[in-house]
Protein backbone atom coordinates (compact mmCIF):
# COMPACT_ATOMS: atom_id res chain seq x y z
CA UNK A 1 0.00 0.00 0.00
CA UNK A 2 1.05 3.60 -0.41
CA UNK A 3 1.26 6.05 2.48
CA UNK A 4 -0.38 9.42 1.69
CA UNK A 5 2.31 12.01 1.03
CA UNK A 6 1.41 14.55 3.69
CA UNK A 7 1.53 11.70 6.24
CA UNK A 8 4.80 10.25 5.01
CA UNK A 9 6.24 13.73 5.19
CA UNK A 10 5.44 14.28 8.83
CA UNK A 11 5.47 10.75 10.20
CA UNK A 12 8.34 9.04 8.39
CA UNK A 13 11.08 11.36 9.71
CA UNK A 14 9.90 10.78 13.27
CA UNK A 15 9.87 7.03 12.67
CA UNK A 16 13.30 7.41 11.08
CA UNK A 17 14.74 9.22 14.09
CA UNK A 18 13.21 6.68 16.45
CA UNK A 19 14.59 3.86 14.28
CA UNK A 20 18.13 5.29 14.36
CA UNK A 21 17.90 5.73 18.11
CA UNK A 22 16.60 2.19 18.49
CA UNK A 23 19.39 0.85 16.32
CA UNK A 24 22.03 2.57 18.44
CA UNK A 25 20.50 1.20 21.61
CA UNK A 26 20.43 -2.25 20.00
CA UNK A 27 24.10 -1.98 19.02
CA UNK A 28 24.81 -0.92 22.59
CA UNK A 29 23.03 -3.92 24.04
CA UNK A 30 25.19 -6.12 21.78
CA UNK A 31 28.25 -4.26 23.06
CA UNK A 32 29.15 -3.04 19.56
CA UNK A 33 28.38 0.55 20.46
CA UNK A 34 29.29 1.83 23.92
CA UNK A 35 29.16 5.00 25.99
CA UNK A 36 32.15 6.33 24.09
CA UNK A 37 30.26 6.34 20.80
CA UNK A 38 27.10 7.53 22.47
CA UNK A 39 28.94 10.47 23.98
CA UNK A 40 30.47 11.38 20.61
CA UNK A 41 26.93 11.30 19.22
CA UNK A 42 25.70 13.55 22.00
CA UNK A 43 28.43 16.12 21.31
CA UNK A 44 27.66 15.78 17.61
CA UNK A 45 24.00 16.47 18.40
CA UNK A 46 24.83 19.62 20.30
CA UNK A 47 27.14 20.71 17.49
CA UNK A 48 24.40 20.06 14.92
CA UNK A 49 22.11 22.40 16.83
CA UNK A 50 24.84 25.03 17.09
CA UNK A 51 25.61 24.74 13.39
CA UNK A 52 21.92 25.05 12.51
CA UNK A 53 21.75 28.15 14.68
CA UNK A 54 24.76 29.63 12.91
CA UNK A 55 23.26 28.56 9.58
CA UNK A 56 20.18 30.72 10.23
CA UNK A 57 22.33 33.85 10.55
CA UNK A 58 25.25 33.12 8.20
CA UNK A 59 23.73 30.63 5.80
CA UNK A 60 20.21 31.93 5.28
CA UNK A 61 20.30 35.59 6.27
CA UNK A 62 23.76 36.10 4.77
CA UNK A 63 25.18 37.88 7.81
CA UNK A 64 28.61 37.04 9.22
CA UNK A 65 28.66 36.05 12.90
CA UNK A 66 31.89 34.61 14.32
CA UNK A 67 31.00 34.86 18.00
CA UNK A 68 28.29 32.24 18.38
CA UNK A 69 30.05 30.50 21.26
CA UNK A 70 29.01 33.55 23.26
CA UNK A 71 25.33 32.67 22.92
CA UNK A 72 26.13 29.04 23.67
CA UNK A 73 27.82 30.00 26.93
CA UNK A 74 24.90 32.21 27.96
CA UNK A 75 22.54 29.27 27.45
CA UNK A 76 24.89 26.87 29.21
CA UNK A 77 25.28 29.09 32.26
CA UNK A 78 21.65 30.20 32.22
CA UNK A 79 20.35 26.66 32.44
CA UNK A 80 23.14 25.34 34.67
CA UNK A 81 22.45 28.06 37.25
CA UNK A 82 18.90 26.79 37.53
CA UNK A 83 19.61 23.07 37.73
CA UNK A 84 22.79 23.37 39.82
CA UNK A 85 22.32 26.37 42.09
CA UNK A 86 18.62 27.21 42.36
CA UNK A 87 16.80 23.89 41.99
CA UNK A 88 19.56 21.36 42.51
CA UNK A 89 18.62 17.67 42.31
CA UNK A 90 19.05 17.28 46.07
CA UNK A 91 16.31 19.79 46.87
CA UNK A 92 13.66 18.75 44.34
CA UNK A 93 11.75 15.44 44.07
CA UNK A 94 13.16 13.23 41.33
CA UNK A 95 9.83 13.44 39.54
CA UNK A 96 10.47 17.16 39.12
CA UNK A 97 13.95 16.79 37.70
CA UNK A 98 12.96 16.49 34.05
CA UNK A 99 10.50 19.42 34.13
CA UNK A 100 13.16 21.53 35.83
CA UNK A 101 15.69 20.44 33.21
CA UNK A 102 13.38 21.42 30.35
CA UNK A 103 12.52 24.69 32.06
CA UNK A 104 16.22 25.47 32.51
CA UNK A 105 16.89 24.80 28.81
CA UNK A 106 14.05 27.12 27.88
CA UNK A 107 15.32 29.86 30.17
CA UNK A 108 18.88 29.38 28.90
CA UNK A 109 17.52 29.88 25.42
CA UNK A 110 15.58 32.97 26.48
CA UNK A 111 18.64 34.55 28.09
CA UNK A 112 20.67 34.00 24.93
CA UNK A 113 17.80 35.26 22.76
CA UNK A 114 17.37 38.40 24.86
CA UNK A 115 21.07 39.22 24.68
CA UNK A 116 21.04 38.38 20.99
CA UNK A 117 18.23 40.86 20.51
CA UNK A 118 19.96 43.59 22.51
CA UNK A 119 23.31 43.15 20.76
CA UNK A 120 21.64 42.83 17.35
CA UNK A 121 19.58 45.99 17.71
CA UNK A 122 22.45 48.45 17.34
CA UNK A 123 25.00 46.31 15.50
CA UNK A 124 23.08 44.64 12.69
CA UNK A 125 23.37 47.74 10.54
CA UNK A 126 27.06 46.84 10.27
CA UNK A 127 28.05 44.92 7.15
CA UNK A 128 30.26 41.90 6.56
CA UNK A 129 33.53 41.85 8.43
CA UNK A 130 32.55 44.78 10.63
CA UNK A 131 29.63 42.80 11.97
CA UNK A 132 31.93 39.79 12.29
CA UNK A 133 34.33 41.74 14.50
CA UNK A 134 31.49 42.95 16.69
CA UNK A 135 30.18 39.42 17.19
CA UNK A 136 33.72 38.26 17.97
CA UNK A 137 34.12 41.08 20.49
CA UNK A 138 30.73 40.20 21.95
CA UNK A 139 31.81 36.58 22.45
CA UNK A 140 34.99 37.68 24.19
CA UNK A 141 33.12 40.14 26.42
CA UNK A 142 30.74 37.41 27.57
CA UNK A 143 33.67 35.10 28.28
CA UNK A 144 35.61 37.77 30.16
CA UNK A 145 32.46 38.69 32.07
CA UNK A 146 31.68 35.14 33.18
CA UNK A 147 35.25 34.82 34.48
CA UNK A 148 34.60 37.60 36.97
CA UNK A 149 31.27 36.49 38.45
CA UNK A 150 32.11 34.72 41.70
CA UNK A 151 28.70 33.13 42.48
CA UNK A 152 28.95 31.01 39.31
CA UNK A 153 32.54 30.02 40.03
CA UNK A 154 34.24 32.70 37.94
CA UNK A 155 37.28 31.21 36.19
CA UNK A 156 36.86 28.03 38.25
CA UNK A 157 33.66 27.29 36.36
CA UNK A 158 30.57 25.41 37.53
CA UNK A 159 31.06 21.93 38.92
CA UNK A 160 28.46 19.18 39.33
CA UNK A 161 25.90 20.20 36.74
CA UNK A 162 23.46 17.25 36.84
CA UNK A 163 23.86 15.07 33.74
CA UNK A 164 20.19 15.17 32.77
CA UNK A 165 20.83 15.22 29.04
CA UNK A 166 20.98 11.72 27.58
CA UNK A 167 21.07 10.66 23.96
CA UNK A 168 17.28 10.50 23.77
CA UNK A 169 16.95 14.13 24.78
CA UNK A 170 19.66 15.20 22.37
CA UNK A 171 17.89 13.34 19.55
CA UNK A 172 14.59 14.95 20.47
CA UNK A 173 16.02 18.44 20.48
CA UNK A 174 17.95 17.99 17.24
CA UNK A 175 14.74 16.75 15.59
CA UNK A 176 12.78 19.63 17.08
CA UNK A 177 15.34 22.18 15.90
CA UNK A 178 15.33 20.73 12.39
CA UNK A 179 11.54 20.85 12.40
CA UNK A 180 11.18 24.49 13.42
CA UNK A 181 14.10 25.77 11.35
CA UNK A 182 12.75 24.04 8.25
CA UNK A 183 9.27 25.44 8.88
CA UNK A 184 10.46 28.98 9.39
CA UNK A 185 12.70 28.82 6.33
CA UNK A 186 9.65 27.96 4.20
CA UNK A 187 7.59 30.85 5.57
CA UNK A 188 7.46 34.62 5.05
CA UNK A 189 10.37 34.96 7.49
CA UNK A 190 12.72 32.50 5.82
CA UNK A 191 11.95 34.03 2.41
CA UNK A 192 12.72 37.49 3.75
CA UNK A 193 16.04 36.23 5.14
CA UNK A 194 17.00 34.63 1.85
CA UNK A 195 16.01 37.80 0.00
CA UNK A 196 18.31 39.83 2.26
CA UNK A 197 21.10 37.30 1.69
CA UNK A 198 20.73 37.24 -2.07
CA UNK A 199 20.38 40.98 -2.62
CA UNK A 200 19.89 43.36 0.25
CA UNK A 201 19.16 46.41 -1.91
CA UNK A 202 16.49 44.60 -3.91
CA UNK A 203 15.05 43.20 -0.67
CA UNK A 204 14.60 46.71 0.70
CA UNK A 205 13.15 47.94 -2.58
CA UNK A 206 10.68 45.07 -2.40
CA UNK A 207 9.41 46.40 0.93
CA UNK A 208 11.31 44.06 3.23
CA UNK A 209 12.30 45.77 6.49
CA UNK A 210 15.81 44.33 6.44
CA UNK A 211 16.81 45.50 9.93
CA UNK A 212 13.73 43.95 11.49
CA UNK A 213 14.17 40.60 9.77
CA UNK A 214 17.89 40.53 10.55
CA UNK A 215 17.12 41.01 14.23
CA UNK A 216 14.47 38.30 14.16
CA UNK A 217 16.98 35.95 12.54
CA UNK A 218 19.68 36.85 15.06
CA UNK A 219 17.39 36.42 18.07
CA UNK A 220 15.96 33.13 16.81
CA UNK A 221 19.47 31.83 16.15
CA UNK A 222 20.61 32.94 19.61
CA UNK A 223 17.72 31.06 21.20
CA UNK A 224 18.69 27.81 19.49
CA UNK A 225 22.32 28.36 20.48
CA UNK A 226 21.20 28.95 24.05
CA UNK A 227 19.25 25.70 24.21
CA UNK A 228 22.19 23.84 22.64
CA UNK A 229 24.46 25.38 25.26
CA UNK A 230 22.10 24.23 27.99
CA UNK A 231 22.17 20.67 26.64
CA UNK A 232 25.98 20.84 26.46
CA UNK A 233 26.20 21.83 30.13
CA UNK A 234 24.02 18.86 31.09
CA UNK A 235 26.13 16.46 29.03
CA UNK A 236 29.56 17.51 30.31
CA UNK A 237 28.43 18.39 33.87
CA UNK A 238 31.25 20.93 34.14
CA UNK A 239 31.40 24.26 32.36
CA UNK A 240 33.89 27.09 32.58
CA UNK A 241 34.13 30.32 30.59
CA UNK A 242 37.08 29.37 28.41
CA UNK A 243 35.18 26.39 26.98
CA UNK A 244 33.27 28.93 24.89
CA UNK A 245 36.24 30.73 23.37
CA UNK A 246 36.77 31.97 19.82
CA UNK A 247 38.16 28.50 19.04
CA UNK A 248 34.67 27.09 19.61
CA UNK A 249 33.12 29.74 17.37
CA UNK A 250 35.54 29.01 14.56
CA UNK A 251 34.91 25.26 14.93
CA UNK A 252 31.25 26.03 14.30
CA UNK A 253 32.13 28.09 11.23
CA UNK A 254 34.08 25.10 9.94
CA UNK A 255 31.16 22.73 10.56
CA UNK A 256 28.80 25.11 8.75
CA UNK A 257 30.79 25.81 5.60
CA UNK A 258 32.41 22.39 5.32
CA UNK A 259 28.95 20.84 5.54
CA UNK A 260 27.39 23.33 3.16
CA UNK A 261 25.85 26.60 4.29
CA UNK A 262 22.25 27.42 3.47
CA UNK A 263 21.37 23.74 3.69
CA UNK A 264 20.05 22.01 6.82
CA UNK A 265 21.44 18.69 5.60
CA UNK A 266 24.79 20.37 5.30
CA UNK A 267 24.75 21.38 8.95
CA UNK A 268 23.92 17.83 9.99
CA UNK A 269 26.63 16.25 7.86
CA UNK A 270 29.26 18.87 8.69
CA UNK A 271 28.77 18.75 12.45
CA UNK A 272 28.39 14.97 12.56
CA UNK A 273 31.44 14.17 10.43
CA UNK A 274 33.79 16.77 11.83
CA UNK A 275 32.88 15.92 15.42
CA UNK A 276 33.54 12.23 14.84
CA UNK A 277 36.62 12.63 12.64
CA UNK A 278 39.14 13.74 15.30
CA UNK A 279 38.08 10.75 17.41
CA UNK A 280 38.29 8.42 14.41
CA UNK A 281 41.84 9.68 13.82
CA UNK A 282 43.06 8.85 17.34
CA UNK A 283 45.28 6.05 16.02
CA UNK A 284 47.46 8.78 14.48
CA UNK A 285 48.48 9.92 17.98
CA UNK A 286 50.26 13.27 17.83
CA UNK A 287 49.79 13.62 14.03
CA UNK A 288 46.04 13.56 14.50
CA UNK A 289 45.30 17.27 14.14
CA UNK A 290 47.76 17.58 11.27
CA UNK A 291 45.78 15.06 9.25
CA UNK A 292 42.50 16.59 10.37
CA UNK A 293 43.65 19.94 9.00
CA UNK A 294 44.67 18.34 5.69
CA UNK A 295 41.33 16.56 5.38
CA UNK A 296 39.55 19.87 5.98
CA UNK A 297 41.61 21.65 3.31
CA UNK A 298 41.05 18.86 0.78
CA UNK A 299 37.31 18.82 1.45
CA UNK A 300 37.06 22.55 0.79
CA UNK A 301 39.19 22.29 -2.35
CA UNK A 302 37.14 19.49 -3.86
CA UNK A 303 33.73 20.48 -2.56
CA UNK A 304 33.85 24.29 -2.34
CA UNK A 305 30.10 24.43 -1.70
CA UNK A 306 30.53 22.07 1.23
CA UNK A 307 30.09 18.31 1.46
CA UNK A 308 26.41 18.37 0.60
CA UNK A 309 26.78 21.13 -1.98
CA UNK A 310 23.34 22.52 -1.21
CA UNK A 311 21.53 19.19 -1.38
CA UNK A 312 18.58 18.96 1.00
CA UNK A 313 17.09 15.75 2.37
CA UNK A 314 13.46 15.34 1.24
CA UNK A 315 11.97 15.79 4.71
CA UNK A 316 13.97 19.00 5.21
CA UNK A 317 12.43 20.54 2.06
CA UNK A 318 8.91 21.76 1.54
CA UNK A 319 7.95 21.85 -2.11
CA UNK A 320 5.04 24.17 -2.88
CA UNK A 321 3.22 21.20 -4.39
CA UNK A 322 2.74 19.89 -0.86
CA UNK A 323 0.59 22.92 -0.12
CA UNK A 324 -2.16 21.30 -2.15
CA UNK A 325 -2.15 17.91 -0.44
CA UNK A 326 -5.38 17.39 1.43
CA UNK A 327 -6.64 20.76 0.20
CA UNK A 328 -10.18 21.46 -0.96
CA UNK A 329 -8.98 21.71 -4.56
CA UNK A 330 -5.85 19.57 -4.75
CA UNK A 331 -4.98 20.50 -8.34
CA UNK A 332 -1.52 22.04 -8.30
CA UNK A 333 -1.29 25.06 -10.62
CA UNK A 334 0.79 23.19 -13.18
CA UNK A 335 4.46 24.00 -13.60
CA UNK A 336 7.31 21.85 -14.80
CA UNK A 337 9.98 20.57 -12.40
CA UNK A 338 13.08 22.75 -12.35
CA UNK A 339 16.61 22.73 -10.91
Amino acid sequence: MKIPKHLSKSVLPIIGFAAIYGLIMLLKSFGIANNYHIQILMFAGVNIMMTLSLNVVNGFTGQFSIGHAGFMSLGAYGSAIITTLLLKPSVIPSSMQIPVFLLSLFIGGLVAALVGFLIGLPTLKLKGDYLAIVTLAFGEIVRAGLRLIEPIGAARGMIGVPTYANLAWIFTFVALTLFVVRNVIYSRYGRAWIAIRDNEIAAEAMGIDTTRYKIISFTFSAFIAGVAGGLYAHVVSFIQPDTFSFVKSSDLLVFLYAGGSGSLTGSIVGALLLTALPEALRFLASWRLVIYALVLIIVMLYRPKGLTGGYELPFLRIHRKELYEGAADPTVPEAEEGE
Binding site: R188, I194, D198, A205, G207, R320, Y324, P333, A335, G338
Partner: protein, 259 residues
Protein backbone atom coordinates in the same frame (compact mmCIF):
# COMPACT_ATOMS: atom_id res chain seq x y z
CA UNK B 1 -7.28 62.31 -13.59
CA UNK B 2 -5.89 62.84 -10.09
CA UNK B 3 -2.27 63.48 -9.27
CA UNK B 4 -1.01 60.65 -7.09
CA UNK B 5 2.67 61.50 -6.96
CA UNK B 6 3.94 65.04 -6.95
CA UNK B 7 7.67 65.65 -7.12
CA UNK B 8 8.95 69.19 -6.51
CA UNK B 9 12.46 70.53 -7.27
CA UNK B 10 14.37 67.34 -6.44
CA UNK B 11 18.10 68.16 -6.26
CA UNK B 12 20.91 65.89 -5.18
CA UNK B 13 24.61 66.61 -4.87
CA UNK B 14 27.40 64.05 -4.51
CA UNK B 15 30.28 65.94 -2.98
CA UNK B 16 30.29 69.17 -4.93
CA UNK B 17 28.84 67.59 -8.05
CA UNK B 18 25.19 68.24 -8.83
CA UNK B 19 23.76 64.99 -10.20
CA UNK B 20 20.14 66.05 -10.55
CA UNK B 21 18.80 69.58 -10.35
CA UNK B 22 15.24 70.82 -9.80
CA UNK B 23 13.47 67.75 -11.04
CA UNK B 24 9.71 68.25 -10.74
CA UNK B 25 6.77 66.25 -12.00
CA UNK B 26 3.12 65.62 -11.19
CA UNK B 27 2.33 62.03 -12.01
CA UNK B 28 -1.32 61.49 -12.98
CA UNK B 29 -3.15 58.32 -12.03
CA UNK B 30 -2.97 55.73 -14.77
CA UNK B 31 -0.54 57.60 -17.03
CA UNK B 32 2.77 56.37 -18.35
CA UNK B 33 5.50 58.94 -17.83
CA UNK B 34 8.78 58.24 -19.56
CA UNK B 35 12.07 59.84 -18.55
CA UNK B 36 14.61 59.81 -21.36
CA UNK B 37 18.06 61.24 -21.86
CA UNK B 38 21.61 60.25 -22.71
CA UNK B 39 23.72 58.08 -20.43
CA UNK B 40 24.76 59.81 -17.21
CA UNK B 41 21.90 62.28 -17.52
CA UNK B 42 20.80 61.29 -14.00
CA UNK B 43 17.73 59.22 -14.86
CA UNK B 44 18.55 56.34 -12.51
CA UNK B 45 19.51 58.86 -9.82
CA UNK B 46 15.97 60.22 -10.01
CA UNK B 47 14.63 56.67 -9.54
CA UNK B 48 16.95 56.13 -6.60
CA UNK B 49 15.50 59.21 -4.97
CA UNK B 50 11.94 58.15 -5.78
CA UNK B 51 12.57 54.79 -4.06
CA UNK B 52 14.46 56.12 -1.04
CA UNK B 53 17.83 54.68 -1.92
CA UNK B 54 19.31 58.19 -2.15
CA UNK B 55 18.12 61.02 0.07
CA UNK B 56 17.71 64.18 -2.05
CA UNK B 57 19.70 67.26 -0.95
CA UNK B 58 16.54 69.30 -1.36
CA UNK B 59 13.05 68.99 -2.78
CA UNK B 60 9.93 67.04 -1.84
CA UNK B 61 8.28 63.78 -2.86
CA UNK B 62 4.59 63.58 -1.98
CA UNK B 63 2.58 60.41 -2.49
CA UNK B 64 -1.12 61.24 -2.32
CA UNK B 65 -0.26 64.18 -0.08
CA UNK B 66 2.10 62.15 2.17
CA UNK B 67 5.68 63.36 2.30
CA UNK B 68 8.11 60.50 1.76
CA UNK B 69 11.43 62.33 2.17
CA UNK B 70 13.66 60.63 4.77
CA UNK B 71 11.83 57.31 4.73
CA UNK B 72 13.76 54.08 4.19
CA UNK B 73 13.47 52.28 0.84
CA UNK B 74 11.18 49.58 2.24
CA UNK B 75 8.85 52.34 3.47
CA UNK B 76 8.79 53.86 -0.01
CA UNK B 77 7.75 50.45 -1.25
CA UNK B 78 5.12 50.22 1.49
CA UNK B 79 3.74 53.51 0.19
CA UNK B 80 3.17 52.01 -3.22
CA UNK B 81 6.32 52.73 -5.18
CA UNK B 82 7.73 49.54 -6.72
CA UNK B 83 10.73 49.47 -9.03
CA UNK B 84 12.87 47.30 -11.25
CA UNK B 85 16.60 47.70 -11.65
CA UNK B 86 18.75 48.59 -14.65
CA UNK B 87 21.26 45.92 -13.60
CA UNK B 88 18.95 43.03 -12.77
CA UNK B 89 18.66 42.41 -9.04
CA UNK B 90 16.76 39.17 -8.62
CA UNK B 91 17.10 36.85 -5.61
CA UNK B 92 19.28 34.53 -7.59
CA UNK B 93 19.29 31.44 -5.40
CA UNK B 94 15.52 31.39 -5.01
CA UNK B 95 13.00 29.91 -7.45
CA UNK B 96 10.89 32.11 -9.69
CA UNK B 97 7.85 31.56 -7.47
CA UNK B 98 9.78 32.42 -4.32
CA UNK B 99 11.21 35.56 -5.91
CA UNK B 100 7.69 36.81 -6.30
CA UNK B 101 6.55 35.57 -2.90
CA UNK B 102 9.43 37.51 -1.36
CA UNK B 103 7.88 40.72 -2.68
CA UNK B 104 4.71 39.78 -0.77
CA UNK B 105 6.48 39.79 2.65
CA UNK B 106 5.10 43.27 3.26
CA UNK B 107 1.49 42.15 2.89
CA UNK B 108 1.83 38.70 4.47
CA UNK B 109 0.04 38.16 7.77
CA UNK B 110 1.96 35.02 8.76
CA UNK B 111 2.98 35.17 12.43
CA UNK B 112 6.35 33.93 13.67
CA UNK B 113 5.35 31.27 16.20
CA UNK B 114 2.66 29.68 14.05
CA UNK B 115 5.27 29.68 11.28
CA UNK B 116 7.64 27.74 13.54
CA UNK B 117 5.05 24.99 13.93
CA UNK B 118 3.65 25.44 10.41
CA UNK B 119 0.09 25.43 11.65
CA UNK B 120 -2.90 24.79 9.40
CA UNK B 121 -3.54 28.50 9.00
CA UNK B 122 0.03 29.03 7.81
CA UNK B 123 -0.33 26.24 5.27
CA UNK B 124 -3.59 27.80 4.06
CA UNK B 125 -2.06 31.27 3.75
CA UNK B 126 0.87 29.76 1.90
CA UNK B 127 -1.52 27.99 -0.48
CA UNK B 128 -3.52 31.14 -1.12
CA UNK B 129 -0.28 32.98 -1.82
CA UNK B 130 0.94 30.25 -4.14
CA UNK B 131 -2.30 30.26 -6.09
CA UNK B 132 -2.17 34.05 -6.44
CA UNK B 133 1.46 33.97 -7.57
CA UNK B 134 0.78 31.25 -10.12
CA UNK B 135 -2.13 33.25 -11.48
CA UNK B 136 0.16 36.25 -11.90
CA UNK B 137 2.83 34.12 -13.54
CA UNK B 138 0.28 32.75 -15.97
CA UNK B 139 -0.75 36.25 -16.99
CA UNK B 140 2.83 37.01 -17.94
CA UNK B 141 3.30 33.40 -19.11
CA UNK B 142 6.24 32.68 -16.85
CA UNK B 143 4.33 29.83 -15.20
CA UNK B 144 6.29 27.21 -17.11
CA UNK B 145 9.47 28.34 -15.29
CA UNK B 146 7.80 28.66 -11.88
CA UNK B 147 10.13 26.22 -10.12
CA UNK B 148 13.37 27.20 -11.82
CA UNK B 149 16.04 29.00 -9.84
CA UNK B 150 15.85 32.57 -11.09
CA UNK B 151 19.58 32.58 -11.90
CA UNK B 152 18.91 29.77 -14.39
CA UNK B 153 16.42 31.90 -16.36
CA UNK B 154 17.48 33.40 -19.69
CA UNK B 155 18.11 37.15 -19.75
CA UNK B 156 14.78 38.20 -21.20
CA UNK B 157 12.58 36.29 -18.76
CA UNK B 158 14.78 37.58 -15.89
CA UNK B 159 13.82 41.16 -16.80
CA UNK B 160 10.21 40.05 -17.10
CA UNK B 161 10.38 38.37 -13.71
CA UNK B 162 11.65 41.58 -12.13
CA UNK B 163 8.58 43.39 -13.43
CA UNK B 164 6.22 40.68 -12.18
CA UNK B 165 7.98 40.73 -8.81
CA UNK B 166 7.40 44.47 -8.56
CA UNK B 167 3.73 43.94 -9.47
CA UNK B 168 3.39 41.53 -6.51
CA UNK B 169 4.00 44.51 -4.20
CA UNK B 170 0.57 45.71 -5.39
CA UNK B 171 2.09 49.15 -6.01
CA UNK B 172 0.29 52.36 -6.94
CA UNK B 173 3.17 53.31 -9.23
CA UNK B 174 5.51 51.03 -11.10
CA UNK B 175 9.00 52.36 -11.84
CA UNK B 176 10.76 50.58 -14.69
CA UNK B 177 14.49 51.28 -15.06
CA UNK B 178 15.50 50.55 -18.67
CA UNK B 179 13.30 47.43 -18.99
CA UNK B 180 14.56 46.58 -22.47
CA UNK B 181 18.27 47.29 -22.01
CA UNK B 182 20.26 44.78 -24.02
CA UNK B 183 17.27 43.05 -25.59
CA UNK B 184 16.65 42.07 -29.18
CA UNK B 185 13.71 43.34 -31.23
CA UNK B 186 11.47 40.34 -30.43
CA UNK B 187 12.03 40.59 -26.69
CA UNK B 188 11.47 44.35 -26.83
CA UNK B 189 8.07 43.86 -28.45
CA UNK B 190 7.24 41.29 -25.80
CA UNK B 191 8.06 43.73 -22.99
CA UNK B 192 6.09 46.45 -24.73
CA UNK B 193 3.00 44.27 -24.91
CA UNK B 194 3.59 43.20 -21.32
CA UNK B 195 3.56 46.83 -20.23
CA UNK B 196 0.39 47.45 -22.21
CA UNK B 197 -1.23 44.44 -20.54
CA UNK B 198 -0.24 45.74 -17.11
CA UNK B 199 -1.78 49.09 -17.92
CA UNK B 200 -5.13 47.81 -19.16
CA UNK B 201 -5.46 44.92 -16.70
CA UNK B 202 -4.41 46.78 -13.54
CA UNK B 203 -4.76 50.38 -14.75
CA UNK B 204 -1.22 50.80 -13.39
CA UNK B 205 0.56 54.15 -13.22
CA UNK B 206 4.04 53.72 -14.67
CA UNK B 207 7.22 55.77 -14.71
CA UNK B 208 9.71 54.43 -17.20
CA UNK B 209 13.34 55.17 -17.91
CA UNK B 210 14.57 54.32 -21.39
CA UNK B 211 16.58 55.87 -24.17
CA UNK B 212 15.39 53.39 -26.73
CA UNK B 213 13.13 55.81 -28.65
CA UNK B 214 11.08 53.51 -30.84
CA UNK B 215 10.24 51.61 -27.67
CA UNK B 216 9.24 54.66 -25.66
CA UNK B 217 7.41 56.74 -28.23
CA UNK B 218 4.42 54.46 -28.85
CA UNK B 219 4.02 53.64 -25.13
CA UNK B 220 4.44 56.94 -23.32
CA UNK B 221 1.70 59.47 -22.61
CA UNK B 222 4.21 62.04 -21.48
CA UNK B 223 7.98 62.32 -21.76
CA UNK B 224 10.55 64.25 -19.74
CA UNK B 225 14.02 64.67 -21.16
CA UNK B 226 17.01 64.90 -18.81
CA UNK B 227 20.47 66.11 -19.76
CA UNK B 228 23.29 66.61 -17.25
CA UNK B 229 20.72 66.36 -14.46
CA UNK B 230 18.54 69.16 -15.80
CA UNK B 231 15.14 68.80 -17.40
CA UNK B 232 15.54 70.20 -20.93
CA UNK B 233 12.16 69.30 -22.37
CA UNK B 234 8.76 67.91 -21.51
CA UNK B 235 5.68 67.00 -23.53
CA UNK B 236 3.94 64.26 -25.45
CA UNK B 237 5.97 62.02 -27.76
CA UNK B 238 5.21 64.05 -30.88
CA UNK B 239 6.40 67.30 -29.32
CA UNK B 240 9.53 65.73 -27.94
CA UNK B 241 10.48 64.24 -31.29
CA UNK B 242 10.32 67.69 -32.83
CA UNK B 243 12.12 69.46 -29.96
CA UNK B 244 15.50 70.74 -31.24
CA UNK B 245 17.02 70.78 -27.73
CA UNK B 246 16.39 67.05 -27.44
CA UNK B 247 17.89 66.25 -30.82
CA UNK B 248 20.88 68.44 -29.91
CA UNK B 249 21.29 66.68 -26.59
CA UNK B 250 21.18 63.27 -28.21
CA UNK B 251 23.26 63.99 -31.27
CA UNK B 252 25.58 66.14 -29.14
CA UNK B 253 25.85 63.17 -26.83
CA UNK B 254 26.73 61.20 -29.95
CA UNK B 255 23.53 59.27 -29.52
CA UNK B 256 22.08 57.42 -32.51
CA UNK B 257 19.13 55.62 -30.99
CA UNK B 258 16.59 58.09 -32.43
CA UNK B 259 14.27 56.30 -34.82
Amino acid sequence: MATILSIKNLTIKFGGLVAVEDFSADVQEGELLAIIGPNGAGKTTVFNMLTGIYKPTSGTIEMEGKNLIGLRPNQFAANGLARTFQNIRLFHNATVVDNIKMAYTLHSLEQFFPALLRTKSIVEQERELDIEVMRLLKIFNLDQQADLLSKNLPYGPQRKLEIVRAMMLKPKILLLDEPVAGMNAVEIDEIASLIRRIREKFNMTIILIEHHMNFVMPLADRIKVLDFGRTIAEGNPAEIQRNPKVIEAYLGGGYNAIA
